[in-house]
Structures are given as C-alpha cells and as structure tokens.
C-alpha cells in the first residue's frame, strides 16, 4: 500500500488534483482510497459524483455508533471516498476533528476492509497544527506532495508544510516527495516556484497547466479524467500520477 498526502494552501486546487490523481490511478488498475481532510468536506465531490457525508457528520448524527459503510463511499472506477469533515463553523476544533476521523477509520478497520493499493489524503495546508499534521505522522503517509502556484501566499503555505515535515525528520515519518505546480499564469511562475522549492530542499515534479476543461468537468460533478478522458488535461493528470509513483517507488 502506497500512502500519499497532498497538501497545499486552501483554494490552490488540491482537491481537483487529488481527485484526478485518484481517477488516474484507478485507470492504471489500482484500488484507491481518497480521504478528504478539510472541514469543508468537498474533496471527493467530483470523484463520487456528489458530496458524501463526512465521518464527523455521521458521528454527530449516529451518536458515535457508526459502521464502515456509513463513512466509505464508492467513487469513479475502483476508488473509495472518505471525508473527515469538521465541527460546526465557529466552534469546536477542526484539527482535532481530523484526528478523531482518523482514529475512527482505524477502529472500524477501513484500510483492512477496502485494501487500497494507494491511499491519498487531501489535506488543507494553511494550518499545520497537530491535527492537520496528522497525515504526515505515525505511518499514515509515506510521501507528501505539495500543490502550489507561483503566488506568494501559496508558496508561504508550502514552506510551512515543508517545515512541519522537516520537524518530524527525526521521527521517521513521511518524506517530502516534491511540488506540484498548479499554474496560475504568474510571470516566471516555474522559475519562482522551483527556486522556492529548492529552498525547501525539494523540486517541482510536474506542472498542471491552467485549462478551462477543469471547470467544465466540475460543472458536471466529475473529474476531468471521467468527463474528458481524451483531453490534454487528462494526460497531464496521468503524467502526474506516473511521476508520483516514480518518486514513491524510488
């Protein structure tokens, strides 16, 4: 089982990238589990075709008495979807919510039952507290990839995430696999991002061009791979999937 965490600033395109990666891995013949780790709980919307109930929603609704089937939902191809979810906005603790969702998944034996070849955690990277750092820790993910653009705020968030990973360096946790440049057509974007990546001890492993086909697919609540399988964007995501596997397989 290969376990991958995708981090990045809110709104940078993590969920779009992760869902398309899940779909691409599925096309390559892998069983994939995608776990959304964002209180918005919309990471898997385009993969499942609808917004699935989150683990925390179900815990709230069913008073902690839930089964695997309450939290794992089938998605496109051989993919399975889980959303950690979050507390009611304005109260509670979103980071702790991620930890609770992870503990519940382990307790219910989600990994053993669904036996994914690849697990993808899609994690909000603006706040790297104990909860949002959970996928980096204790064997949840083997590699972390950061989605960024050449914009300052995206690179700042990327730098924080890289710092958290380095903090855990002595604990044998997840390694930083590389940067995924989700292009925003910033001037000299590749050079700016690559320089920043190098300062973080990393590099860009692939670029995702800006393309309107992504919005068209999202309008259909689908991934690009599902909605426009022959498009150039689909090829970009498939290329990214291969690059990620190359990194993970050494």
């Amino acid at each position: 089982m290969i376990k991958i965490a995708i981090y990045g600033k809110g709104g940078i395109g993590k969920s779009t990238t992760t869902s398309n990666l899940s779909a691409a891995f599925s096309l390559m013949g892998y069983r994939v589990l995608q776990v959304g780790c964002d209180p918005k709980a919309d990471s898997t919307k385009n993969l499942a075709g609808y917004q699935i109930p989150s683990v925390l929603d179900q815990l709230r609704k069913k008073d902690n008495d839930i089964t695997k089937e309450d939290i794992v939902f089938p998605g496109y191809g051989k993919t399975f979807c889980v959303e950690a979810g979050g507390p009611t906005p304005g109260i509670g603790c979103a980071g702790r919510g991620i930890i609770t969702a992870f503990e519940k998944m382990e307790e219910l034996g989600v990994y053993e039952t669904y036996q994914p070849d690849i697990v993808l955690y899609d994690v909000l990277g603006d706040v790297v507290c104990g909860g949002f750092a959970m996928p980096i820790r204790q064997g949840y993910a083997d590699y972390v990839f950061i989605v960024t653009s050449g914009e300052a705020m995206a690179l700042y968030a990327a730098s924080n995430i890289a710092y958290a990973i380095n903090q855990f360096g002595t604990r044998n946790y997840a390694k930083l696999g590389g940067m995924i440049l989700n292009e925003r057509n910033v001037e000299n974007e590749y050079e700016i991002t690559e320089k920043a990546a190098q300062e973080m001890g990393s590099s860009i492993i692939a670029c995702i061009p800006r393309n309107g086909v992504v919005q068209k697919a999202e309008a259909e609540t689908k991934t690009v791979i599902e909605a426009f399988p022959d498009s150039e964007m689909s090829q970009s995501y498939e290329h990214l999937a291969k690059k990620i596997l190359e990194v993970c397989n050494g």
Partner: protein, 395 residues
C-alpha cells in the same frame, strides 16, 4: 451524581509499569498525576517508583513545546541514581486535544538518550484497563524475546494490577494455586515480575488472563507466539475447580477458553429472563468482567440454576461476554437498569448501593464487592480475598 469517575487509562498504564524500574511521565498540568498517585495507586506512598508530571502549561500546549518536555525528561534521567529500564510518556486530555505526538516524542527522545522509550496515547477519557492493555503490550513488544525452547507447564499471568486485585493476598493466592497445580510461572504482568522474567514470557505454553486489561496482550501473544490463553480467576473453592479444569483443557488442546462461558442463544436468554421464569434467583454482578465471569463460573459449578447477568461497568469485551451481559457506560445506564429490571441480588462496589431505587431496596440483597477503580481509597482496605478457598459465591 452518585459515583466518582472510574480510574482512567493513564492510571492503568502507571499501575502496570509501577514495578519495572522505568520512568513514567504523564504529560499533564498535575491533576492527572495527582489523581493516579492519590486515588488509584495503593502502593504510592513510601514507594520509589518514578512517576512524574510534565508540568504542562498553557504556552507549552499552544506552542507545542515538545523539546522542553524532552529536556525535562533528560534531567530526570541524569539525576536518577538507579538505572532506568525504559521511559514511558503518557498523554492526558490537553495533549490529546491538541494532537501531541506522544509516539513521535518518544521515538525522538530514544534516539537522543539510547534508553527504550514508549509514547502511549492515553487521554484520560478511557477506562483504566485500556491503559493496562496499552502498557503490557508495549512492554511485551519491546522486551519479550523469541523463545528457543518452551516450558511444558510454563504459564504467564496477564493483566494483574492492584486496581483489580488490591494489595491484599489475592495476587499471591492465585500464584500459589498455579504452583500447587504444577504450573511454572514464567512472568506475571504486572505484579511481581522483572523485565528479565518478561523477556522469557514467550516460553510459556499457556497464558492466564486475569482482567480485561490482559486480553489484548493475550491475543497478541496467541498470534505472535501461538500461546493460547484462559480468561478467568479462581474465586473460592468451586472457582478453583473451574479454573484448574479450564487451564488443563486449554493446555492439552492448545486452544483458548473463557472460564465457564455458556454459548447462550437469544431464545434461551429470553426464556430465562422472562418475568415468569422459574429460576430461583436473578443475580446481577456489576464490575470488572473477568471477575464477573469467574464469579459466575464458580457459582454455576456449585449451584447451576440461578440466572446471573454481568453488568460491564468498564465496557463489555464481547469475547468474554455471554448473551445478556450488558455494557453500562455510566451511572445513568445503571440507574435505568435498576428501574427497568428486578434483581434478587446485586453484587457491586458499595458506592452502587445508592443507585438502587428505594422501592426496590427491600427486595434486593446488596453484596458489597469493592473495586479500587470505582471507590478508590474509600474501600481499598476492604477488598475481599476472593481467590482463597473459603471465599464463597453468594447463595
């Protein structure tokens, strides 16, 4: 509110590690450590066991100052005169809420000081036996060695702490019985064994689980070392007969057994519990599950007919339970049970007596059976010698 909180998971860990010459650090502001040392540990006063509070403060939590915790532990290590076998770092409610990485901190510390370190995710919200289970498994995973040979009648005791057995003669009584039956006690988790004994634990042919806290280690050792287990203790003369038979059967067939377990079916249960049932008595044992099932086994060995139900106040382990044994998560569940059901006899910690509604007290005999996880020091000197021969189940 009638009951104090039950002994929590960190108390279970501390109790299980108490005698093994390690350093135990509870990462808390002081209340959790004080709860353990003041209320859950009858051995504390006068002992030399190294249980410390990390002195967690607001800014430590807000800023996640793991390094300061590690530095404090290093100071304790350096100043300690006796050798330190291991260091266990335990969580409490605040580290749990902020997601402190106890295992990661321990792993980092071990690299720096070269002493075995464990991080245990206790949080104060779970019951003590989860802590016993965590601690015993962590110790076994680290120190038990692959056996070169097996001892024919080698046995380990799993899950034994003063929280369930008190400091009276119960633990020694049980060990004497095993010796009388010709068993060779290799190690006792976690009263009266050294790490050297524990290292040899996999030489056993059988494990004896004496509390809910010992179940996890028993299952792990069965999987890893193919050692079957018996869950049960000998409560009184008839309990002795029961336990001896069960152990011999398990040893001979190399198969695990739960003492006295009936494979009740739903219809049998409903027949037995119907309002017009013709059984002589209806008895409720409220307490630790292995004690409950052992008491029931001893009772059946002698009387056979009465219907005995176990109220699992520390959570129900389904492997130990029979159909009809009920999980009771808090005192409101116990009150609801007393309101809806009628029992002739209730056996429980004295603090439960107040929960029986007034109108039912006259018809219910209450048998006091103190448990340290419930009533702490109030009754810890009154825990009965339940292993010895003259202890009898109620009739």
């Amino acid at each position: 509110m009638y009951l104090p909180p039950y002994a929590p998971d960190y108390s279970g860990v501390c109790s299980a590690l108490f005698e093994l010459s390690g350093i135990v650090v509870i990462h808390d502001a002081g209340g959790c450590t004080g709860n353990y040392t003041g209320y859950d540990e009858p051995r504390w006063y006068g002992s030399e066991s190294a249980v410390f509070c990390s002195g967690l403060r607001e800014m430590d939590a807000v800023l996640g100052l793991d390094n300061e915790l590690m530095e404090k532990i290093k100071i304790v290590c350096n100043e300690r005169k006796s050798p330190t076998n291991f260091i266990a770092i335990l969580g409490s409610p605040v580290p749990m809420l902020i997601g402190s990485d106890m295992k990661g901190i321990a792993s980092e510390l071990e690299k720096q000081i070269h002493i075995p370190c464990f991080g245990l995710d206790t949080n104060g919200f779970h019951i003590y036996h989860k802590g016993i289970a965590m601690a015993e498994k962590a110790i076994a995973e680290r120190f038990v060695k692959q056996p070169k040979t097996k001892k024919e009648r080698g046995i380990n005791i799993l899950g034994m702490t003063p929280i369930d057995f008190s400091l009276n003669e119960n633990s020694e009584d049980l060990k004497k019985l095993l010796l009388k039956w010709g068993y060779d006690i290799i190690s006792c988790f976690s009263m009266g064994a050294s790490l050297k004994n524990i290292a040899e634990a996999a030489q056993a042919k059988i494990n004896l689980v004496v509390s809910q806290g010992g179940m996890q280690l028993a299952q792990w050792m069965e999987k890893k070392y193919h050692i079957p287990y018996v869950a049960g203790i000998a409560m009184g003369k008839h309990g002795e007969i029961c336990l001896q038979k069960t152990l011999e059967k398990a040893l001979e067939h190399q198969k695990s057994y739960i003492i006295g377990k009936y494979e009740y079916k739903k219809d049998t249960f409903e027949k037995n519990t119907a309002s017009n049932f013709d059984l002589p008595k209806r008895i409720l044992f409220l307490g630790e599950q292995v004690q409950g099932i052992s008491w029931r086994a001893a009772y059946r060995e002698k009387h056979e007919h009465d219907y005995i139900q176990i109220g699992c106040i520390f959570g129900r382990d389904d492997e130990l339970a029979e159909y009809g044994d009920i999980p009771l998560f808090d005192e409101s569940d116990v009150i609801k049970l007393f309101l809806s059901e009628k029992y002739d006899v209730v056996i429980a910690d004295p603090l439960f007596e107040e929960l029986i509604p007034n109108e039912k007290r006259e018809h219910t005999k209450f048998v006091k059976f103190p448990h340290i996880a419930v009533s702490s020091k109030i009754y810890w000197d009154s825990v009965p010698r339940f292993i010895e021969e003259k202890f009898e189940s109620y009739k």
